[in-house]
Symmetry: C2
Subunit: 173 residues, 2 copies
């Protein structure tokens, strides 16, 4: 069976040790890179079945299923949820200590984020756009713009940051 000629080229991200990086690739790309799914299978309508059929439990448990580690998409979605919710709870008028802690936190976050190319990009963004920590409004706006920077890189539409508070703090009524 030959592979179709119009198969999309996928760029795999590798770890420093030369192995495909799970938290830097989509699950499908990771599975293809590690030979768990062939590119042809990935193109088929049945491809999604490869991503969801994890139904057995871990040994000794009747609760916890054998769920695989998060891929880059799930990791990104989860982390933005945390980061935006954090800005929504940041003090309206933080004192200097709170401002310093938030700066430190974002700096370290940009080092320990578990997808190295995302982390480097965030660190560079922080370097060029110093986090605005003087008020909740400013930090919420800053985070929304940081997220839009990533959205643009991924070819996603921008979120209108005028609505950051409804999305992450107050809801839409």
């Amino acid at each position: 069976m030959t592979e179709p000629k119009d198969l999309p080229k996928r760029k795999i991200i590798y770890d420093e040790d030369g192995k495909p990086c799970r938290s830097c690739n989509t699950l499908l790309d990771f599975q293809m890179a590690t030979g768990k799914v062939s590119p042809v299978a990935a193109m088929s309508p049945m491809a999604s079945a490869f991503n969801t059929a994890v139904t057995d439990f871990i040994p000794g448990s009747r609760t916890y299923r054998k769920v695989d580690p998060p891929d880059v998409t799930e990791l990104g979605r989860s982390s933005w949820t945390f980061l935006h919710a954090m800005t929504a709870k940041y003090p309206e008028k933080p004192n200097l200590n709170q401002q310093g802690e938030m700066k430190d936190f974002l700096n370290i976050f940009s080092k320990v984020y578990p997808c190295h190319w995302c982390a480097m990009d965030f660190a560079k963004y922080i370097e060029n756009h110093s986090p605005k920590v003087e008020s909740r409004d400013e930090l919420g706006q800053w985070m929304c713009e940081a997220h839009n920077h990533v959205n643009a890189k991924l070819g996603k539409p921008k979120f209108d940051c005028n609505f950051w508070k409804q999305r992450w703090k107050d809801g839409w009524e």
Copy 2:
């Protein structure tokens, strides 16, 4: 219409300003506390419809729906995903600088986490169980145990920490 007598009592968590805290309660509790859903409606089989019917887009966008801020459950799930993935990418043998940064990060995390009672509980846990940052294995185990501490508080079963690497780093094969 009277309310059924066996309606469960729900304890609502409030913010410092006396308003119900969205990121400290489940969505349903928050909606009940703010009068958006009556306790009777919350008990009905249609209750889930109140949680999911957010189908309109934000003004000016054809992409972004009016999604409400995360409740305490979504926030918790997202944050644990980030935290465990972070331990999976922590260096196997971190230098002293990396160890110090991780300690600082977890300390600040326990202050800025956007559910205040969860944050206080995490801060207390850190105080009594100093983060083990001398290797990836130790940090992964430590985070798994911290998560189990919360699982126990919520009446959830413990996760067998012998499997933390399969769950958060290597997958299950």
